[in-house]
Amino acid sequence: MSKEHEHGMSLIVKTVTRLTVGLIFLYGIYIILHGHLTPGGGFAGGVIIALSFINLDLAFGGKVSAGIFSKESTGVVEALGALMFLALALIGLQYGGFFDNFLHPDGEPGGLVSAGIIPLENIAISLKVGAGLFGIFLTLIVLQKFESESKQ
């Protein structure tokens, strides 16, 4: 990698990133929470959130996001998201079956709080996907230790 990359990209890119990254993040959360009402859902929203972090890293050089999220903590969040999804499925066993939508009677169709466990499942997936994708990104892009392995 060239020297400029260590300090991130140009000033313009940095400024634009600073202005937009929060919006991208919020848009991801919006997509997740409205997954049962409008297009999108936990998966797309999770990827958008991960991309907002990736955006920070690309613009400012690899070290910024490491302060917010280490590789360790992405692993923990990802496993927690996966466990949450599985737990939602297994709680259904109490109410009549695997993946039973046990919260369904609550809420009016069309409202933000509706559709039973579907919004919860969306949140679980977004945690899992966002953390997982960001973990892949950190492993493959930020931690570049295999650059010159063959020259040893």
Binding site: A82, L93, G96, G97, F98, F99
Partner: protein, 499 residues
Amino acid sequence: MISESIVPLFVAVPLAGAFLTALLKRVRGIPDILGVMSSFSGFVLSVFFLVRMQAERTVLVLNVGNWGGFQEVMGRIVGIQMVVDGFTIFMLLIVNFVAFLVAVYSVSYMTRYTDKWQFHTLFLLMLAGMNGVLVTGDMFNLFVFVEVASIASYALVGFGTGKRELEASFKYAVMGGVASLLILLGIIFLYSATGTLNMGDMKTVLSEWSVQPALIYLVFGLFLAGFGLKAAIVPFHAWLPDAHPSAPAPISAMLSGVLIKALGVYAIARVFITVFGFPRQVSIILLVLAAISMGVGALVALRQWDMKRLLAYSSISQVGYIMLGFGIGTPLGIMGALFHLFNHSMFKSLLFLDSGAVEYATGTRNMKEMGGLARKMPVTSGSTLAGAMSLAGIPPFAGFWSKLVIIVAAVQAHHMKLAAWAVLMSIVTIAYVLKVTRFAFLGELREKFRDIREVPALMRIPLIILALMCIFGGLLLVPQVRDVLLSPAVRVLAENGGM
């Protein structure tokens, strides 16, 4: 009722084990305990279902998410179904039994590698994927769980991160990825033609057609290539001889012992026999591919000096025998195929674990460098001998009986040439099996192996149990035992076959 609602545990328990392992990776001993306990509970569950099925003699069907009530309204199933019948139980028992023993074995063996928690996580994900493939009654769900098990196995093949391991893993990932795409394409064609994804409904729709459109033959081709790649039948086998030797020994045992059967052989039998009703053209293609696999696998195995590579080629040859049994399609042939599938799982996992034990003690897999290990490693060499005799088909070891059943079935179905070919290839099998025992375990002990020791107890116990299965596996043919395990599985396939 109770037994239906716990069917999802076959998938949920290994998955929970995998997620918890990833979460608690820093706690000492937790990955080992979770790995062994999850696979053990899978085994206990499958025994429970075996007993249950014996009492009720019925097919268990579970509608995931409670969407079964709409079947009357729609005439079709709107959700995903899990189906457990005799064939499923038979496979679940084999997969979870071998997985449990392999998990015990890897507690000691995997100390040779770094980051053991990743091994246990991937191992449990692979197990969850295989169990998911076995219990599902839905086409697309089958594909999803095939992918779970496949991606876990690609990563496990590259676990050592050496040049060879990574290269084998890449080759396997590319071929496996293409196979998955072919399978998915086949599923889409089927969906667009039948309007459903449920296997039972698909079968109904397909049987209502008086003329099979050419589209169905395209789907046959796609599935045969896709699942054939997963099962490593001969024109599609190129990944296997690299992937099996490169993986750590417990994973070689899993790949060869159960993975190629759960994702490949089981899926072929399930899709072609129960969904398509086993059309005659497929039977002929299977017989031809089986004959080629048997020959190529056995003859190439004869030339190998790397112990695991030899065993890998031998797997191709033995899967050929299993496909031969299915291809014959008579109840006796199917029984032979299932019986051989069981035996192959036992002796091939045993032999791969043995090769791992030899590597653990001596640090090499090259048979030219070995010799005289029988004196130093009695348990390993004894169990290898049992596995090898079963593989070679020497009476009264288990492998003899299953090959005998297949050959008798071939003769009964008037496939004389195939029967003769199967006998010929089992003689070649004896030759390469003798090569393993002769060069590795008999003869003079090398100077540099003066102070090798037998492997730790946790590795010895699975070897002994599997060796006992190889010696007494023939008991599966005793009528009382056969009625419990083999016959229900054969009934499922033979009733649907219509031949």
